[in-house]
């Protein structure tokens, strides 16, 4: 049953991801990406991590992507038909991209990863609660990355203000 659900959402995710790259209209691309995010969330549910799943939908589909859509609509670019300089490179790009793809499939396609089980098995999560597990880890083992991320976000906010705020003329100083 859960395998069936997995394949269903895996297929949706892969197709939507392809659509995101292939579709010409940026809004369609963004929507495909939203679909990818939602199917990923479904997979997190299958992995008994509903907290991560909901956070995934809320943050990626609900916040980040909406901002993408906002920017796309604000700038309303036409459908991308390829600019002159890029057109000349298209053949080469396809060639090298396909070569890399073939290489990766050839090398990684046959690889079977070891079926290791980590600390957080479904039973462990059921006993502790997945939200509690995420919270506890964030403030113990992953405290440093957690704090650094907050500094990173601060820097990002400062940077956005620097880049986006109305220009002041230098002579005023």
């Amino acid at each position: 049953m859960s395998l069936l659900v997995f394949y269903l959402f895996a297929a949706i995710a892969v197709l939507a991801a392809l659509g995101m790259v292939v579709l010409r209209n940026p809004v369609h691309s963004a929507l495909s990406l939203a679909l990818v995010f939602v199917s990923l969330a479904a997979m997190y549910v299958l992995l008994s991590a509903p907290f991560i799943a909901v956070a995934q939908v809320m943050i990626y589909a609900g916040a980040i992507l909406i901002l993408f859509v906002f920017v796309i609509m604000l700038l309303s670019p036409g459908t991308d038909q390829g600019v002159g300089a890029l057109k000349a490179q298209r053949g080469l790009a396809i060639l090298f991209g396909a070569a890399l793809l073939v290489l990766l499939i050839a090398v990684l396609g046959g690889a079977v990863l070891p079926p290791t089980r980590g600390t957080f098995t479904p039973e462990a999560i059921a006993a502790e609660g997945d939200t509690q597990a995420v919270g506890a880890l964030l403030f113990t083992n992953f405290l440093l990355p957690f704090e650094i991320t907050s500094i990173l976000l601060l820097v990002a906010i400062v940077g956005v203000i620097v880049l986006a705020k109305k220009r002041q003329s230098i002579s005023k100083q």
Binding site: A111, L143, I148, L152, G159, L163
Partner: protein
């Protein structure tokens, strides 16, 4: 307090913002000095915890001598770049507070990259440094070139970081751990052919992200445009900072996680090293803009440094372990390249010129700068008696010791090619007549920084023993490879 340098940098990064926010115009004059104070304190804190060898935050963060070496490097680079950017920024931007704050955070990111011992921290700190670098590159909003540079840098960085993340996820998938040493153990204990296959491919993908930071060919295309458009002190930073800590992570991953696959990654790195040196040097020959020239020069320099990793061999007591060559090279390169860029800044501050043609007759207009150009370019080309020679001596020596004769030979040939374009600048400065012979006024601060860097370049060459010791200490924590 093993993370005191990081704490100090984080606090000062925010302090600068606060001072900028609540301070008056006169207080804001002190912002660069507050920043410098932060760097000096972080430098002192690094010295205070000198000799520690600890793994903290559940093994995510390694405070060892290797990381402390790079923290020293980061704070030194930070101090010098802040000092030369004071005059440069005046009149170019009104947002000095944000500039110095973001710059402090970028030094923080460098110190964290040096200590990262888990895939998560590696990715996070690389992204941290990338974001601050993009912001600094595009900081001059009024300047179209600065915008263009930031955009190209950002797009290129986003792609390589995605590729790197894919590689990191594969590494995590095959080993079940984020910790570099745990991954090494998992690799050593497995006979599963699938794991071994993935363990060969995944690091190659990770190399895309690191190669972007280090500017290795073929991940170098952003460098000339970003270097040309960025504010010149930022260019100086980009040419030494991300490159140095990129090497820190490359060395750490190669020597702690992947030593058992050394036979596989050495040919790959050797090839990358050769094309990086050759392409960098050949394209540099055709450049007319000094910042682009130094960009290609710094790409080529990354190629030389990589020779040290190719020739790495930590067994025995040979003075040419390869690793020490990379560290010595990085240290020498820090002062040399910063010095060269400070010369460029000195001229740009006074005249706004960044083309080599504008350097005609420089010897009459600014004899001090012209003379120092010679020292820095000699050092970049690796000609004694300069620091660059010591660096090249040790990386080429390691390659010879390991029997990579062709690689060493190509390195030497490339050094000779590089002499041509370095001396094209010197020829303009010394043997061509200036269109405008008026003398160029160099501010005292820039003069002081020029003196310091030039003195260091010469000092390392005539009295290199302390640097040798520093490199030897710093690599002590790596196990025997081979």
């Amino acid at each position: 307090m093993l993370i005191s340098p990081e704490l100090i940098l984080a606090i000062f990064g925010m302090l600068v913002l606060v001072v900028d926010l609540i301070g008056r115009a006169r207080t804001r004059e002190w912002l660069p000095w507050v920043t410098v104070l932060g760097f000096v304190l972080a430098f002192a804190a690094t010295l205070y915890i000198w000799g520690s060898n600890a793994s903290i935050f559940a093994g995510m963060y390694s405070v060892d001598m290797f990381s402390l070496f790079f923290k020293l490097l980061a704070t030194i680079a930070g101090t010098m770049i802040v000092l030369v950017s004071i005059d440069y920024l005046r009149g170019r931007t009104t947002r000095q507070g944000e500039f110095f704050s973001i710059f402090t955070f970028s030094i923080l990111a460098m110190t964290m990259m040096a200590s990262s011992a888990s895939l998560l921290m590696i990715y996070l700190s690389i992204e941290f440094l990338s974001y601050t670098s993009y912001l600094l590159t595009g900081f001059l909003r009024e300047d179209k070139k600065s915008n263009e540079a930031a955009l190209k840098y950002f797009l290129y960085g986003a792609i390589t970081s995605a590729v790197m993340l894919y590689g990191l996820s594969l590494l995590y998938g095959v080993s079940g751990s984020l910790n570099l040493t745990d991954i090494a153990t998992a690799f050593a204990n497995t006979v599963d052919p699938s794991v071994r296959t993935v363990a060969l491919v995944a690091p190659a993908l990770v190399l895309a992200g690191l190669g972007f930071k280090i500017s290795l060919v073929p991940f170098h295309q952003w460098a000339p445009d970003a270097y040309e458009g960025a504010p010149t002190p930022v260019t100086a930073f980009l040419s030494v900072g991300p490159k140095a800590v990129g090497f820190a992570i490359l060395l750490r991953v190669a020597l702690t996680t992947l030593p058992i696959y050394q036979a596989s990654w050495i040919p790959l790195l050797a090839v990358i090293s050769i094309i990086t040196m050759t392409l960098g040097n050949l394209v540099a020959l055709r450049q007319t803009n000094i910042k682009r020239l130094l960009a290609y020069s710094s790409i080529a320099q990354a190629g030389y440094m990589l020779i040290g990793l190719v020739g790495v061999n930590l067994t025995g007591n040979s003075p040419f372990s390869g690793l020490n060559g990379v560290l010595i090279y990085l240290f020498a390169y820090l002062f040399t390249n910063l010095g060269a860029f400070i010369c460029v800044i000195a001229i740009e501050n006074a005249t706004g010129a960044v083309n080599i043609a504008d350097y005609a007759g420089l010897v009459r207009r600014a004899p001090f700068v012209a003379a120092l150009f010679i020292i820095f370019f000699l050092s970049l080309a690796g000609i004694p008696p300069t620091a660059g020679f010591i660096g090249k001596f040790f990386v080429f020596g390691a390659a010879l010791r390991e029997g990579f004769l062709t690689l060493a030979a190509i390195g030497v040939i490339n050094s000779i090619i590089s002499v041509f374009y370095y001396f094209a600048v010197i020829r303009a400065a010394f043997f061509l007549d200036a269109k405008d012979p008026s003398p160029i006024r160099i501010t005292p601060l820039v003069t002081a920084m020029l003196t310091v860097t030039a003195a260091m370049v010469l000092l390392i060459a005539v009295y290199p023993q302390p640097l040798f010791n520093l490199a030897a200490w710093s690599m002590g924590m790596f196990g025997v490879v081979k």
